[in-house]
Symmetry: D3
Subunit: 292 residues, 6 copies
């Protein structure tokens, strides 16, 4: 059993840094050597490869990898049959989402998906685009694009289906968004065979538990405050309804110590509210991991 190794695929490119950071937060140090795609990981039971996210789902499906990280987009695009262990949605990234959009030239006569009938669409995600067209009952030609997709309409194609974060590149090429196909999120995936191996399944579940604990640790904080006795009920009502707080009376005073874990985003509204009620000594502590 000891020389069994869990094969892990790390996605090269835009997901790479976040993936490595979350593994580190989960307790695994992964080092990317200069000019090498075999990664070093400080767990002798694992082996680690840097691969394009487009290929990871297929390699997981075929069992070349036991575990991989990839986006929804490439899992769907590759039509790989994989088991989704968990989502690694990064709560803080809400302003910067990866979206796949259909876009046409600003002055194009194409105003809705239906207008794409008979047209040509260039994209790096051919299957994703075809599935979308099928769902919309539109027949159009979908061509694989190797890159610089934004330059193609109208000379090389009628429309494109491309990834965008801020829309700046689309605007710079005078393109208009017609529809959003997918907002992609990051997944931890495995295959049936690994899932049926008791040792691997347990190891994968442990990794997932730690990764999710670290992801959640990024969005949750620990809030501690002194609440005057007269305001205790009002304060408790103001707190998020998630989990019962820890309440402790301060000996010899009509004050209570209240401790709660809540989302960092809620704190923005919660602290001023509590302060106005008369709460004192409100302290927010960071959390590294949280497993509930």
């Amino acid at each position: 059993m000891n020389d069994k190794k869990l094969k892990l695929g790390i996605p090269k490119g835009s997901l790479q840094d976040y993936t490595l950071k979350m593994f580190k937060a989960a307790g695994f140090d992964i080092e990317v050597p200069e000019r090498r795609y075999f990664l070093k990981i400080d767990d002798p039971e694992m082996e680690c490869f840097l691969l394009r996210p487009q290929e990871i789902p297929k390699y997981v499906e075929k069992g070349k990898l036991d575990l991989g990280i990839s986006g929804d987009d490439w899992i769907l695009e590759s039509k790989a049959k994989v088991i989704e262990v968990c989502d690694l949605k990064y709560a803080k990234q809400e302003i910067k989402k990866v979206k796949w959009v259909l876009a046409v030239p600003e002055d194009s006569s194409i105003k809705s998906v239906q207008d794409l009938e008979g047209k040509t669409i260039a994209t790096e995600a051919v299957n994703l685009t075809k599935d979308y067209l099928r769902k919309n009952k539109v027949k159009a030609k979908v061509e694989f694009s190797w890159g610089t997709t934004e330059v193609k309409p109208p000379r090389f194609t009628d429309a494109i289906c491309d990834i965008t974060e801020t829309g700046v590149s689309l605007r710079a090429h005078n393109l208009r968004i017609l529809d959003t196909l997918l907002i992609s999120s990051t997944k931890l995936i495995t295959n049936k065979k690994a899932w049926q191996d008791k040792w691997k399944k347990e190891k994968i579940k442990d990794i997932a538990l730690l990764l999710q604990g670290a992801v959640k640790g990024e969005e949750v904080v620990n809030l501690m405050m002194h609440v005057p006795g007269l305001k205790l009920n009002r304060a408790l009502k103001a707190l998020p309804k998630l989990k019962s707080p820890t309440i402790k009376k301060i000996a010899g005073e009509n004050w209570y110590d209240v401790i709660i874990n809540c989302k960092e985003k809620e704190v923005r509204e919660l602290i001023p509210k509590l302060k106005r009620m008369g709460c004192q000594g409100i302290i927010e502590y960071p959390i590294s991991k949280i497993v509930t």
Copy 2:
């Protein structure tokens, strides 16, 4: 009320990174898009503009902005009538202070402010310099400088009033500091009209509360220790006098758990002292925000 927006001015330049970092610590994510000065903020009730700190005070005064961040220097220089909501003094920056100094060539005959009588001073902060001269009852000509101010004495001007952090640039141009006019600190400012609008005032106060909580969270830490019963009084005397610590007897032992919040700078002297008294298990925890 819902479509009301609070207009916020973020200072471009040397204050920009710290300002964005403190807003993030306060719970607001602000994104600077490539090549754009309209910033994205994850609060639908706010709009965010990147502007030069020189202009923010005037725009706040005129009501073009409801809220802004700028330095003391530019508030004074612009003579804008604004309300100072709070100071955002960054405690850790003590080694790197922004100072406005009067400087002259090393071999200049000007040895004191009085020697500037009748001379010419080049500066980016004309009003600041004039006010200073008036206070010192010296009459001198103050000229606006667009930059490279250090190269000007003695050929283009007799003296300069310029910003300095480390003094390296002054020394490289053979300049001697004559006097310090101002050590600038960062302020959150608003105007009367916004302050009279109930919704805006409350929102501004909440933002100030969170920003100050975050600023303070950077300099305060949470210190926990086990104190032997015999040393409890001596230990308590050693602690900073700010706020009474939490003291709890450990059941069945003549030891006490003492918890206190104190400045990170004090910890440097406090920990060795406590250790010498026989305290054990001294742990310092980071704090994200503190609102007292």
Copy 3:
């Protein structure tokens, strides 16, 4: 006479690299020391200062500098009375021109200069803008802008007058160009006093001669070709009319060697034409300087 020094102002910023490059091409090495604005020049008769292009015209006017490099824009803006020694128009920069444009929000009701009546315009070049308005008989308020000018319409101002090269930044801020005020070019300037000093005038004229020789050397090439005797007349007609070429009969053959200097841009059309006529051995040589 020997310790007389010609004081030269080099513009910091966008013109800096090109200016230093052209001085080098003219035969003068100027070194920019780290963190210093006193530049080193390998001519003991000169002293060299790095200054903002906004200030150079005024310093030349006042005689603090004998010679300076600045753009048309800042010469006009500063209203400095200077003598323009020569133009340093860089022929190869034709795709990348520095333009001052009036711009308004894309959806603004302002469609022509006349619509600016009573409006506010923010700009770094206040005088330039005022002069333009006067010429167009429009009355509008012109406000000095410290920077990030593109973010200002429509919240902080109605229109802006700003510098643009590619228009990308204007488009990123949803601005529309209303009119072009000025296409700026680079000038070598001096003042009356220096011009009346015999030694200085001669030195300035020599520098101008060398700089212009170097500028021209960048756009002119030397073209040499073998022309068959029967095509000599046709070939000569095809050549640019500037200057008579050098023609030499090749001994013992009905072929001629023709040498001509022409603009590099003309070569693009000339070479294919000559080749089709039957010319052979067409060679283009680079030129470092040309003084006609």
Copy 4:
């Protein structure tokens, strides 16, 4: 005819800089705007697109582009029917050649192409690899690789067919080169339709003439020397046999001026030889373009 435009495809990636440099040397300035793939060219008769070299051959074949630059590799891979106008082989790049190689793990039992029978090969150039196998009468599975190809053997594939310049990356992944499939060079390509259009054909031929003139100008230099009369014959014999040199007797002396164009690489051996013969005043001039 005037609004006819020649559509040109510039390859994004490793060929991009050299391509733009050679167009500049040929007399065409092409600017790559920030974040845009529509390029600016200073010829109103042309339009310019930045596209992946993988796609340019197909777009040229279909007539979406009239003219394109791509490598042999992608022309073959795409099986596009295009007309090769000329080769743009860069003589100076001889140490840095782009090679497509078959590679296997260092300790693999695969020692020759024949051993690949029944194996799997990962590659970005599927057709190139299949053609090579067919020629070698080997049946193997060829899989498309999206990247990080070097990490794949032996876990994900048996062998790879990948691009290499220095071999460093292959060595870092413990791979051994089995065979070289192709040493790629850069081509200027067009299609039948453009070639049949008189105006386009002429324009394309002119561009090719100028590009080749510029490419050749990089490797050819002009050598001028004084040869003593007694050594004239020996010196002439030493010169490369390409083209007859220009020989001129120096009036009143038994010395000759000899001028010749030769490859820069030959100069390395030629100059010492000539010097030893007693030649003097040997001068090498750079050439910008040469069209013979």
Copy 5:
């Protein structure tokens, strides 16, 4: 006593960033001014110099410095008689260790240390290498190498003794590791005289305490969990044996709150185990310093 200063040497180069980071974590801000090796420290009782780690041990021995940071390697190499105050082993750096290795060309006949008899070894650490040879009873010539040591075998030397982290550079020069001489770790060192000065010794011990507290704070975390009463004993057995945890019954429920400090590396296995036992609300908090 007040104007006494503790002289501290900070190692320039690979240890510099980590050293400055740990001093910051310990509560001391040290600033490295541009182009200066006198560092600024926010403690008026200290003076700080940036020096090569090779020289720090000798300067500490001679009393030019009271305190210094250097590696084992240079302390041994310099044969300086210093007092090792404490080790600053950075627990997280386990994948990236600094090793001194003996290496020979891959195809060298040297297979063991004994084969070095009579050979030449190039190294930056001459004494280290000589000591190693002496210990192994091998006589070989050791030559000082100024750098690019890897290029030397076999032409310039038979073997080398060099520092390596990842082995990439050794492999790139076709070198094989023969033996490892030393795995270096970072030390805080002082000298006898400073150690006999009461004020200095106390200050040094305080600094060591804080540095070690910070180092340990990087590897230890605080883990808090709710344990069901029935599993309390099993959970306590699972916890690391270091220090007794804090256990508190939750009022009115058969659940316990258990708090423990443990190594971050242990958490990776601990959390999944605790979770499987039925523990809930497992939270990991970061620690800044820990002094036990």
Copy 6:
């Protein structure tokens, strides 16, 4: 003879780029692979190593290298017995000279070399410094310094002997230059044995000839002008006295074509002078190599 190889040492560090550039100009392409010190050279008769300039003289002396590039400073310092083939003084570098200087603290009582008697001097060039002291009949202790030499006076040493280009770093450490020991220039060196080998000597002489031709080609230009017959004598007198110019009467006109090679630095004064005499069509051509 064919498999004989000339071993060449290229200096790593400050001389590296210029050395590679001059070899390229001489006709030899040398490539520095990533992370490797074996360099590639496009001459099969040579082998190329990247080594510290401190070590090259010794390796040349011992015959490990046949040919090397190093500075005067390290040749003297290493006391290596080498044959200086030629100087590679780079004429354009006149403003940026590498000087070895003796420096002391600004406020030191050491005012002349004699005051160094009995003092300590830290330096990377121990022999150079000792030789200098001997010549000046001063006895002082010279200590090897590994770097950051400027920080050492007065705490760690009394004076230093260090390399300086601009003096900025000396000034930043408050040091005053006492004397200049050496202005270093770059040399091509070989050893007796290689010099006695006929093939090697010839090859080395050829390389030296080409390198010097390229070095000279950088400082010499070709100047061509039309001179009016009446001014011919005056013009000829103005020309540098080096080499007789080529003079040719223009057929049918009282004008002469005069061609001369002269130093680029002279051109600065020559062109204006010639222009004033009435010369026309003055053209300066660049030269790649010149061998006289």
